[in-house]
């Protein structure tokens, strides 16, 4: 035990000796350390200058983005102390950042978003769909811009007639109209699909006899409470840009049922209100089980 502690102390002493010696030898290392630090200072200075320049440009752009009237009012135009060439560049840059922000805002409120791809030769649009305040699927559509505007890749299902929609609005001149139509079709489809899902979830007593991928037709089987007669209801969504049916048709063995005033009311309800909610109302009125 005594030996160990003695060894320990001696070890410690020799360690301290080595440290003192190495600290001594560090003195000639200081110039190289100084060089290192000087280089770091330079790098940081140039970074600071770069940031300052960027800040200046940003300030100028902000000024340019102010509405033209305000500029005239404040008489800031005279303060633009740049030559015509770079002022044009600044104007373009201001416009670019304005449009980028607009696009971002458009995306935030549920519209489509876009980015350029392939070094500016293409664009990729992100079309979100929503129904009753809930975001559903997002679809992507890539366009090639050179030499002509053409649809390249996308993940839009084939029952949305993308090619015929592209033919209807001239892709070369009016991409916005095309995108608006596609977005309309997709949102309507997402809405109809969501309604079908809700019908299946909320109304288990109602049998879905027929539907299709596009959700443009829905055949439901109701049971009339009085004598348990089955009532077949066909909802046709012929306008693919809408979530509500254009035609509601009833079929029943008892011919009197579809013609009754109650059911005539229900038919028009089904045309005005999304199907899952209409069914809840019809059930409440005890028209169906």
């Amino acid at each position: 035990m005594e030996g160990a502690s003695t060894r320990g102390v001696l070890c410690h002493l020799s360690l301290l000796e080595v440290q003192a010696r190495s600290r001594g030898s560090q003195v000639p290392q200081q110039p190289s350390r100084v060089k290192e630090l000087k280089a770091k200072v330079e790098a940081l200075t140039s970074q600071r200058d770069q940031l300052k320049a960027e800040l200046q440009i940003h300030k100028k752009l902000q000024k340019l983005r102010a509405p033209v009237d305000k500029r005239r009012e404040d008489g800031e135009d005279e303060e633009m102390d740049v030559d015509s060439e770079s002022s044009e560049l600044f104007h373009l840059m201001a416009r670019h950042s304005e449009l980028t922000d607009l696009l971002h805002a458009h995306n935030l409120i549920g519209g489509y978003d876009a980015i350029t791809t392939n070094g500016g030769k293409g664009m990729c649009f992100s079309l979100a769909t929503e129904y009753e305040g809930a975001y559903l699927d997002t679809y992507k559509l890539e366009l090639n811009l050179k030499p002509k505007v053409r649809i390249s890749r996308h993940n839009i299902p084939p029952f949305i007639p993308l090619n015929s929609l592209a033919e209807q609005s001239d892709l070369q001149t009016d991409v916005r109209a095309f995108l608006a139509t596609v977005s309309q079709h997709l949102n309507a489809f997402a809405g109809r699909k969501q309604q079908l899902k809700l019908v299946k979830e909320q109304h288990k007593s109602i049998e879905v006899m027929e539907s299709n991928l596009l959700c443009s037709i829905l055949v439901l089987m109701f049971t009339v409470p009085k004598d348990k007669t089955p009532l077949l209801c066909t909802l046709e969504y012929t306008d693919h840009t809408r979530c509500l049916p254009t035609r509601v048709h009833l079929n029943c063995q008892d011919k009197l049922v579809p013609d009754s005033p109650n059911w005539k009311k229900n038919c028009s309800l089904l045309k005005e209100v999304p199907v899952h909610r209409a069914l809840t109302a019809i059930k409440k009125a005890s028209n169906i089980v």
């Binding site: 978003d113 980015i115 791809t117 990729c124 992100s126 992507k140 890539e142 890749r153 996308h154 993940n155 839009i156 299902p157 084939p158 029952f159 007639p161 015929s164 027929e210 539907s211 299709n212 991928l213 596009l214 443009s216 037709i217 046709e236 012929t238 693919h240």
Partner: protein, 336 residues
């Protein structure tokens, strides 16, 4: 039960694997629960078949019922045989509102107009696919139920998948399909394979495609070992780029299990060291076939690991992009 029905049932029983027998028979529902319980599925297939034939005879089942059973089996196990894809073109104005009843009536009536003695069965599957079974006869003979053609179509999409169609009956079937879906033309889509689910998923875009986004992708987890860190540091960017391009070309996650791709080359021979061949005027005709248990995953791996150069050549990227796996390549217009 006539001989044909018996023969058909026996043939069908040979096709259905033992593990699926019980569930398929349950779905069929033509035998009462009592009768089904009496079958001992631990016996050999041959014995089960004999017992089943006896039960069907007792229940007086006919060819019609047996074809139902066949259709149930094929619908639940579609990844057999060879499926060919066709594409409907030039839809008429009301093509988008064709609904099931209408399609069924129209198809049956058009086909029987074109050929007498055909037996058609149409059934809608839970995933909205319309399955059609056609047994072909002609003016003289009864429909041949042993070699039935199967067709799968999703209404409001342009694609039709066909299995076991002879060249004799092809124009008739295609015409009936075109008319009943209210289109004006139909053409071969150059996509074929054994797995119907793969062909369908590829064309209906039911897989995870990757598109460029403006948000940077999450950083990959760093490895602990130092030597790997050094390699990764140098290769990281190149590797990340390859992975990204491979993903954008083929997709993410599980890809549709396409099993082959066929390239028919009719291009001029190009090899500076082989003058004899290069001097020839005619194109050099050769065909290249790629096979794999999952071709798209193999190609994606080739691209991400660097075996295939990135950006991926259009020859390979056309497979998922255009949804085809048969290409004819000439010097003028590579696979249009």
């Amino acid at each position: 039960m006539d001989n044909l029905a018996k023969h058909l049932l026996q043939r069908l029983m040979r096709r259905i694997p033992a593990s699926m027998l019980q569930s398929t028979l349950d779905k069929w529902g033509r035998l009462t629960a009592e009768k089904r319980k009496s079958l001992d599925f631990t016996q050999s297939k041959l014995t089960i078949t004999q017992e089943l034939v006896a039960l069907c005879e007792e229940s007086e089942l006919t060819v019609k019922h047996i074809t139902e059973l066949e259709m149930i089996y094929v619908t639940e196990n579609p990844n057999q045989g060879m499926w060919h894809t066709f594409q409907l073109l030039d839809p008429e104005d009301d093509a988008h509102s064709v609904e099931l009843m209408q399609f069924k009536e129209q198809f049956k009536s058009h086909l029987s107009e074109l050929k007498r003695n055909v037996s058609v069965k149409i059934k809608k599957h839970t995933d909205e696919a319309v399955w059609i079974r056609v047994a072909w006869g002609d003016g003289l003979s009864r429909p041949n139920h042993l070699k039935a053609t199967y067709v799968v179509h999703y209404l409001q999409t342009p694609y039709v998948f066909v299995n076991a169609l002879s060249s004799k009956n092809k124009p008739l079937l295609l015409q009936a399909l075109t008319l009943s879906t209210k289109h004006q033309q139909i053409k071969a889509a150059n996509l074929s394979g054994q797995k119907l689910t793969a062909l369908r998923d590829l064309l209906m875009r039911q897989y995870q495609q990757v598109f460029p986004t403006k948000y940077p992708s999450p950083l990959p987890e760093s490895d602990q070992s130092i030597s790997k860190l050094r390699i990764e540091k140098v290769q990281a960017e190149a590797s990340a780029n390859r992975h990204r391009m491979a993903g954008e070309t083929f997709g993410d996650g599980m890809l549709p299990a396409l099993q082959s791709a066929f390239f028919q080359l009719e291009t001029k021979f190009k090899d500076p060291t082989n003058e004899a061949m290069t001097q020839r005027d005619e194109p050099f005709i050769c065909s290249v076939k790629f096979s794999s248990s999952n071709l798209l995953e193999s190609l994606r791996h080739c691209a991400s690991s660097g075996i295939a150069s990135t950006p991926v050549t259009p020859l390979l990227s056309s497979i998922p992009l255009k949804g085809r796996n048969y290409f004819v390549i000439t010097n003028n217009v590579p696979n249009a």
